[in-house]
C-alpha cells in the first residue's frame, strides 16, 4: 500500500516504548485475597492462548492505546486508496486545442487518445485560451464523432484553467478527467497540484502527453506605432524555433480600398533558435500581411495580419474671426496638417454648409451673427459634427450664446487664474494618453459645467470640463475650452506644445469613431461581447452572434470594422522545446500510479473517527478506575 506521507508510519515506533512501559511499570494493583481459588477457577475458563498473553500484559488500556497508536500513525501516513473505480463511467476529456497542437502528429494522436479514454458519459472540452465545452454528458458515439472533427485552433491554451473549471464543477464528481496536451505552454502550478485538487474532490485526473519536437518559424511580438500621418510603423520579431540555421523569406503585402496593393519581399538568415526584429514603415490604411514564406510545423504563426482603419477624406469648415489670409492660428495649422482632411477656413458661413463633415468655430473677438449661429445649431442638430473653441467671445457675445443649446457644457464665467492644471478623465485618459497636458499652463479660461449625458475627456482641476463631447443624433458636438489665442493675449500655452496637433488628431478620431489601433489588431484567444447580435465574418465563415471569440489567425469583419487577429505567442509557437512538462519515462509511471491510487482523506477520516472512539472508551475505563 502507498501512503501520502510514508514517514508518518514512523509513529509506529511508539509501540516499543508503550510496550516497555506496560511491561516494566508495575501497573497491576496488588490485592491480597484469601479466595484466590475462585479467581483461578475463573481463569481456567479463559482460552489458554489468551492466558499466555495476559500473563505478560493484561491491561485492556494497553491494547486500546496500542490500537490508537497504530490508527494514528496510519492516519498520519494517509494510505492512498482507489477511491474511484478503474473504469469510470463519467469521463471528462480536456483536449489541448492550442496552436502548437496543429503540428500534424499531435492533434491526430490526441484524437486517438481521447477516443480511447471515453466512458459511458462523456464531456469534451477544448482547452483554448478559455475552456470551450464542446459536449456535455454525451454517450461515447457522439463524443467520438465530435472528437474526430476537432481541429487545433490558433490560440494559446490555458490547460490549468480548463482543469480547474472541470474540477470545480460539482457535476463532475467521481469523474475521470483525462487531459491530453503537448504541454508546450503550461502556465499553472505543477500538475501534481491539480491531481491533488481533483482527488480532494473525488475525481481522478490523468495527464497524457502528445507530440515530438517540430521545427517552426514564427512571427511574434508584432505591434503598430501611429506615425500620425495616416500610416503606421509595424515592428515584429521573426524567430526560428529549430536548432538549425535557416534562411527565411518574408513578404509584406498591403491591400486597401484607397491605395493600390503593395508587396515588399525580404530575406533573413537565422541561426538555430535565432531571432530577428524587422520593421515596416508606412504601413498604409487597410489590411496588410507579413508572411514567412517557408513551410513549417505551425502555419498560423507564419502570417501576421495587420488592420489599419481606413479613413475616408473629410471636409472641415473652420469658422474664425481671424483673417485667413493674414495669419494662421495654431488650430488651423494643426488641423490643416492632418491627412485625409480637406480644411476650409472661412470668415463667414458659406451657403453650402451641408457639404462639410465637421464645422469648427474658433471666434476670439468677433462673434458670429445670430443667423449664422442658428444655422450652425441647426447643422449640429441635424447630426453633423461640431467643435466649438472656448474663447472669450463665446461668453461675452450674446449672439454666441445661441450656440449654448448644442454645447455639452454650460458656460458660467471667464476667470483669470494660473493655479489649475489639466487632467484627462473618463475615456479621455486613454484617448489623450500621449498628450502632455502636464506642460500646459492656463492663465485664463471659461468656467463651464458639463451637462447630463456628456463625456468629459479632460477637465481643469477644480474648475470644470475643458474638453467635453456629446452626441446629437449621429453627430458629435465637442467643446474645447482651450483657446488657441497666441502672443500677448494668450490664455494658455497649449498651442505651443509639440503634442498640440496630436490632440486634434486624437479628438477627431474619437469623434469619428475611429478606434485605437489596438482595437483592430488583437491577439487570438480574446473574447468580445456585443450589445446585440452582430454579423461577423471570420477568416473561415460568416456568422451572426452576440460575441466573437478570436480563435483563428486572420481578418475578422464585424460592425463595419476590420479586425486582424494574430497568435503572437512565442511559448505557443515554440514546438521545438525540450522543457515541456516532464510526464514521460519514470515520471509517467509515478504519475500513472499516483492517478490510480488517490485520496488518503477518505480512509483518514474513518481512522480518525475510530481513534476518537478509542479515546472515549479509554477515558471511560480510566474514569471507572478512578484514575481520572
Amino acid at each position: 500500500m502507498d501512503y501520502e506521507f510514508p514517514l508518518g508510519l514512523a509513529a509506529l515506533a511508539g509501540i516499543i516504548p508503550l510496550t516497555i512501559v506496560y511491561l516494566l511499570k508495575p501497573r497491576p494493583k496488588q490485592i491480597i485475597l484469601p479466595s484466590l481459588m475462585f479467581v483461578q477457577r475463573i481463569s481456567q475458563n479463559v482460552l489458554a492462548s489468551r492466558r499466555k498473553i495476559t500473563k505478560k500484559i493484561t491491561d485492556p488500556l494497553f491494547f486500546l492505546q496500542l490500537l490508537a497508536l497504530i490508527l494514528l500513525s496510519i492516519a498520519i501516513a494517509g494510505p492512498l486508496l482507489d477511491s474511484i473505480s478503474g473504469n469510470s463511467e463519467k469521463v471528462v476529456v480536456i483536449i489541448d486545442s492550442s496552436a502548437s497542437m496543429s503540428v500534424p502528429d499531435r492533434i491526430n494522436t490526441s484524437r486517438s487518445m481521447a477516443i480511447e479514454s471515453l466512458g459511458e458519459e462523456n464531456t469534451v472540452i477544448a482547452a483554448e485560451s478559455i475552456p470551450v465545452v464542446l459536449a456535455k454528458a454525451v454517450d461515447a458515439d457522439n463524443a467520438k464523432e465530435l472528437i474526430r472533427n476537432m481541429e487545433a485552433r490558433s490560440t494559446s491554451a490555458d490547460v490549468p484553467k480548463s482543469i480547474l473549471t472541470v474540477v470545480n464543477d460539482e457535476e463532475n464528481q467521481n469523474a475521470k478527467i483525462v487531459v491530453i496536451s503537448d504541454f508546450e505552454n503550461w502556465a499553472g502550478r505543477a500538475p501534481e497540484t491539480y491531481i491533488k485538487i481533483a482527488n480532494a474532490k473525488n475525481m481522478q485526473l490523468e495527464f497524457r502527453q502528445v507530440g515530438k519536437p517540430a521545427v517552426n518559424y514564427a512571427i511574434v511580438n508584432g505591434y503598430l506605432k501611429d506615425r500620425n500621418d495616416g500610416t503606421y510603423e509595424y515592428t515584429c520579431t521573426v524567430k526560428n524555433f529549430g536548432n538549425e540555421s535557416v534562411k527565411l523569406d518574408v513578404q509584406l503585402e498591403s491591400k486597401s480600398g484607397l491605395f493600390s496593393p503593395q508587396k515588399v519581399n525580404n530575406s533573413m538568415s537565422l541561426d538555430g533558435f535565432g531571432a530577428q526584429q524587422i520593421k515596416f514603415f508606412s504601413i498604409p490604411q487597410g489590411t496588410s500581411t507579413v508572411e514567412i514564406l517557408n513551410k513549417d510545423a505551425v502555419p498560423c504563426d507564419n502570417i501576421a495580419y495587420i488592420s489599419i482603419p481606413e479613413i475616408t477624406p473629410k471636409k472641415m469648415l473652420i469658422l474664425t474671426d481671424l483673417d485667413p489670409a493674414a495669419s494662421k492660428s495654431p488650430l488651423i495649422t494643426a488641423l490643416s496638417l492632418m491627412p485625409d482632411i480637406d480644411v476650409d477656413v472661412q470668415y463667414k458661413l458659406p451657403d453650402d454648409l451641408e457639404k462639410y463633415d465637421v464645422v469648427v468655430i474658433d471666434c476670439e473677438y468677433e462673434p458670429l451673427s445670430s443667423s449664422t449661429v442658428r444655422k450652425i445649431v441647426a447643422y449640429a442638430k441635424s447630426g453633423k459634427d461640431l467643435i466649438v473653441i472656448g474663447n472669450g467671445c463665446l461668453y461675452n457675445s450674446s449672439e454666441m450664446h445661441g450656440l449654448y443649446p448644442v454645447l455639452p457644457v454650460d458656460i458660467i464665467s471667464i476667470k483669470e487664474d494660473d493655479s489649475h492644471t489639466i487632467e484627462t478623465s473618463g475615456s479621455g485618459k486613454h484617448i489623450f494618453e500621449e498628450i502632455s497636458f502636464d506642460e500646459v499652463y492656463m492663465s485664463k479660461y471659461l468656467v463651464a459645467v458639463s451637462r447630463e449625458n456628456t463625456s468629459v475627456l479632460a477637465e481643469l482641476e477644480g474648475v470644470g470640463p475643458v474638453v467635453c463631447a456629446w452626441n446629437i443624433k449621429n453627430g458629435t458636438t465637442s467643446y474645447v475650452g482651450l483657446s488657441d489665442t497666441v502672443e500677448n493675449e494668450a490664455w494658455n500655452n497649449f498651442p505651443t506644445i509639440p503634442t498640440y496637433p496630436v490632440f486634434w488628431v486624437k479628438l477627431l478620431k474619437y469623434m469619428w469613431g475611429i478606434d485605437d489601433i489596438s482595437e483592430t489588431n488583437v491577439n487570438t484567444g480574446r473574447y468580445q461581447a456585443f450589445d446585440q447580435s452582430t454579423r461577423i465574418k471570420t477568416p473561415t465563415e460568416t456568422i451572426s452572434s452576440k460575441f466573437v471569440y478570436y480563435d483563428e489567425c486572420g481578418i475578422y469583419n464585424l460592425n463595419q470594422k476590420t479586425v486582424a487577429a494574430n497568435l503572437y505567442d512565442s511559448a505557443e509557437s515554440n514546438t521545438f522545446t525540450e522543457k515541456r512538462l516532464n510526464l514521460a519515462g519514470e515520471n509517467a509511471e509515478i504519475q500513472k500510479e499516483d492517478l490510480q491510487t488517490r485520496s488518503p482523506d477518505k480512509l483518514r477520516k474513518y481512522l480518525i473517527y475510530a481513534l476518537l472512539l478509542l479515546l472515549v472508551i479509554e477515558n471511560v475505563i480510566m474514569f471507572r478506575r478512578k484514575i481520572i
Binding site: 501497573r27 497491576p28 494493583k29 496488588q30 490485592i31 491480597i32 485475597l33 484469601p34 479466595s35 484466590l36 481459588m37 475462585f38 479467581v39 483461578q40 477457577r41 475463573i42 481463569s43 475458563n45 495476559t54 500473563k55 500484559i57 493484561t58 491491561d59 485492556p60 488500556l61 475505563i621 471507572r624 478506575r625 478512578k626
Partner: protein
C-alpha cells in the same frame, strides 16, 4: 501477623449470662456435670440393677436386695456428666482478611470466647484449638481463671499457614475422648473434599459448622479494576487478571457456589451450618449459634 496482638472484643460476654447451651444429644464425658449423660454411673438417681460379676466394686452391691433374694445385685445409677465443648478455630492466613479490624480471626476468636463463656458459666469443659497446617492443641479448661488465660492465649496466637481441614480433623479425632460438641469456626476456604472428609470424620460428635466471611470477599470493591495482581493470603501465590464487571460477576458466582456446597455438606450430615458475615455483631453470631436467634 505472627506475634501481633489480636483485638478480641469481650465487652459483650456479660450479656450472655442468661443463656445456656442446649445439647441435642446426650453427652459422653469423663467429667461429671449438669448435663444428662448417656452413661450410667455414680449419680443419685437409681436406674436399675444387674447381677454381680466378680470384680465389681463391693460398694455397689445392694445388700437389702441380697437379704430379700439372697442373690448379689449391683445398683446402677443415672450418671450426671459435664458438657465437653471443643472449638476448632481456623488460624490460617486467610483468616487475617480483611486488613482492617476485626478480621476474620479476631471475629472467630470473639465468638469462640462467647460460646466458651456460656460453657464456662455452667462449669462445663471447653477446649479451643486452633488449626491451620496442623492443630495447636490446648488442654480442656474449666472455670473463670482458665477462661481469662484462654482470652490471653487467643489474643497472642500466631495466625499463618494454609487451611488443611481434613488433616486437622484426622489429627484431632483421636484426641476427643468423649462425645463432645465440636464447633468448627472457619472461612472454609479449603478444598470441598477436604471439608467433607473433616465433617465426616467428626460427625460422631455434635458438630456445628460456623462459616465466616467478609462482604468484600464476595463482592470485589469498585476500585479493584483493570489489571490486578491477586496474591493468595495463604500461599502467596500470585495471579494476574484483567478485572472487569464480568469477572466480578463470575467471581461472586464462584464464591456463592462454594457456600452452597458447604450448606449441602452440612445438610448431608444433618449438622447445623451457620454462615456469618463478620460485620454482624458478635453477640448476634453467638446467639445464632446457640440457637437463641
Amino acid at each position: 501477623m505472627a506475634g501481633a496482638k489480636h483485638m478480641i472484643d469481650t465487652s459483650f460476654l456479660t450479656q450472655l449470662d442468661r443463656y445456656a447451651l442446649p445439647l441435642r444429644n446426650r453427652v459422653m464425658a469423663v467429667h461429671s456435670g449438669s448435663h444428662i449423660s448417656t452413661k450410667k454411673g455414680s449419680g443419685l438417681d437409681l436406674v436399675d440393677h444387674r447381677k454381680y460379676n466378680p470384680g465389681d466394686s463391693l460398694k455397689k452391691i445392694d445388700w437389702n436386695l441380697y437379704a430379700r433374694t439372697e442373690k448379689l445385685y449391683i445398683r446402677r445409677f443415672e450418671e450426671d456428666k459435664n458438657l465437653n465443648m471443643v472449638i476448632l478455630l481456623d488460624a490460617s492466613s486467610s483468616m487475617l482478611f480483611p486488613d482492617n479490624s476485626p478480621n476474620k480471626f479476631e471475629y472467630a476468636s470473639t465468638i469462640a470466647l462467647g460460646v466458651s463463656y456460656i460453657v464456662m458459666r455452667y462449669n462445663d469443659q471447653y477446649m479451643i484449638s486452633t488449626f491451620a497446617d496442623d492443630v495447636d492443641y490446648t488442654k480442656a479448661r474449666k472455670g473463670r481463671e482458665e477462661f481469662l488465660r484462654t482470652i490471653d492465649n487467643l489474643s497472642s496466637i500466631s495466625v499463618n499457614g494454609k487451611t488443611k481441614l481434613a488433616d486437622c480433623a484426622d489429627s484431632i479425632y483421636s484426641r476427643i475422648k468423649s462425645k463432645s460438641m465440636v464447633l468448627i469456626i472457619s472461612d472454609f476456604l479449603d478444598n470441598l473434599d477436604s471439608i467433607r472428609h473433616a465433617v465426616h470424620r467428626l460427625s460422631g460428635h455434635e458438630l456445628v459448622l460456623v462459616h465466616l466471611y467478609d462482604e468484600t470477599e464476595i463482592s470485589l470493591p469498585e476500585t479493584v479494576d483493570g489489571t490486578v495482581k491477586f496474591i493468595d493470603s495463604e500461599t502467596n501465590e500470585e495471579f494476574n487478571m484483567s478485572v472487569g464487571p464480568e469477572f466480578k460477576k463470575e467471581y461472586a458466582a464462584e464464591y456463592e457456589k462454594h457456600m452452597a456446597e458447604l450448606d449441602k455438606i452440612a445438610y448431608d450430615f444433618k449438622i447445623p451450618y451457620f454462615s456469618i458475615n463478620i460485620n454482624n455483631r458478635p453477640i448476634d453470631a453467638v446467639l445464632t449459634i446457640i440457637g437463641e436467634r
